[in-house]
Amino acid sequence: MKTVLKIALGIIAALGGFLDIGDIVFNTQAGALFRYDLLWAVVLGTLGIAVYAEMCGRVAAVTGRPVFDVIRMRLGFGLGLAALIASTAVNLLTVAAELGGLAIVLQLLFDAEFSLFVVLAAIGLVIVVALLPFGGIERLFGYCGLLMIVFVATAINQGPDWGAVAQGFVPSLSSSTLYLYFVVGVFAAALMPYEVHFYSSGAVEEHWDESSLKENRLNAIIGYALGGVLACSLVVVSGYLFHPVGVDPSDLGTAALPAQNAYGETGLLLALGGIMFCVGGAAVDSSFSASYNLAQFLGWEWGRYRGPKKAPRFTASWLVFLFLAMLVVLSGINPVEITEYSVVFAVVALPMTYLPVLMIAGDRSFMGDHANGPISRTLGWTYFALILVLALAALPLLLATNGGGG
């Protein structure tokens, strides 16, 4: 019974923590621009992150090695360093975007200077991380992120043309560069590298071993699949409300409008609360990931469970990343723009994250009986091929569409 409850709670935390500012921005914009046409890309991205998260969790549980440890081991120092620099740059942009998103939501709720909320948000995150253990941090943001279910309720309440919604799950391509840009954005937002860095390091933080493999599989498959439902609901509510009237949701606050439209002030508050916990959780995850990567690459003691005294450089680097992200947001760059760039640049860094994972997860000398089976292997390599194509297409599409501006 205790195990079932533990697994259920893990799934709920994975579901609540699935969305971040990248998902919220890209999925809402995708719905506004292309109605339900990009739902298939959300499903494709969700399946991809489930496949790779399961692999990363399995590798961490069986070998005790998190992703960046594996990257260094498989790619060697030179390429490993390149991967570290690329992922650190992307992580820093991501932390800045999430922190900025958190400040935007606080401003929408309490209306004061944006810069004040940026500083308060950073201080709030430091306090939460200082007071709560690793599992507590995950549960706080994961459970409260479930407020995003208001978007599923909104989608049902709106009563869209379900036939058209179903049609959106059928993959389709277009010659429009803007459409292709959003295919890349929606897909990449679901597969941000920090998510697997955090997931696998979290497995080590929680002392997973081979007995945790079932929990890992259920968290990754069911938790992320349900998270995908939340992501799809963002596309649907936006496609229903914004697409017909031509709204361009370039502000994070606009994402909450459908919930307000359906349920009034209560809906608005639930939506803003959900967004706040999602981006707050992602700010912690991405900043932790930046520190995990650095510490694992350089061989430092790392882990929230060790505390600042036993892992001082890890703790200090986390604070530095958060501080640098705060400076980026305070420089005045729009957090939504930072989000778009972080997601697109993340696509370029994706192959260096996922190839070593795929190689080690399939290596029987490391993984023994827990190496990739035929399904994981096929899915893993198929997704890797897709990631390579998108990595090549991402920057040209970013330039051709003027950063999604058309």
Partner: protein, 150 residues
């Protein structure tokens, strides 16, 4: 050594060419397409503003949310108006450019009113209605620009 000596010259030429291209791209007349995109942005902002104002009119929002959204969207509208006003229009779209600036200015005023009265249902309803009218004007302008081109 020769190569090293040549590099500053090459770099300077590249920089000069880059600056020239940047200046060139920013110096042309405001084309019909650019103007259409600008007016479309104004129409989209009006539609978004209408949804925010609708929340105020129905007492279905939080006043801080309505105020911050009105301020943000109003700022974007003013920026759009300034961009259009600063640009030098090509002669055949001068009249439409002036109309677009007027529509954007009117919309910015409505956002300003919403920002001042984010909890007043009566004002919310009025602003929502006027934003609908301004949005319709912007859309008519887009159609006119498209029609004239054809």
């Amino acid at each position: 050594v020769q190569c090293r000596r040549r590099r500053p010259g090459v770099a300077a030429t590249a920089v000069a060419l880059g600056v020239f291209l940047i200046l060139l791209s920013g110096c042309g007349d405001l084309s019909r397409d650019e103007l259409t995109r600008g007016v479309e942005s104004i129409a989209a902002l009006a539609a978004q503003g209408q949804l925010v104002a609708n929340g105020v009119a129905r007492d279905a929002t939080k006043s801080t949310y309505a105020r911050v959204m009105a301020k943000t969207l109003g700022g974007e509208t003013e920026h759009e108006a300034e961009k259009l006003a600063d640009a030098e229009p090509s002669p055949e779209v001068r009249r439409e450019r002036n109309a677009a600036v007027q529509v954007a200015t009117e919309l910015a005023d409505l956002f300003s009113e919403l920002q001042t009265f984010p909890g007043d249902e009566h004002h919310g309803a009025l602003v929502e209605k006027h934003m609908g009218e301004v949005g319709a004007q912007a859309e008519a302008l887009v159609e006119r620009l498209g029609g004239d081109a054809g």
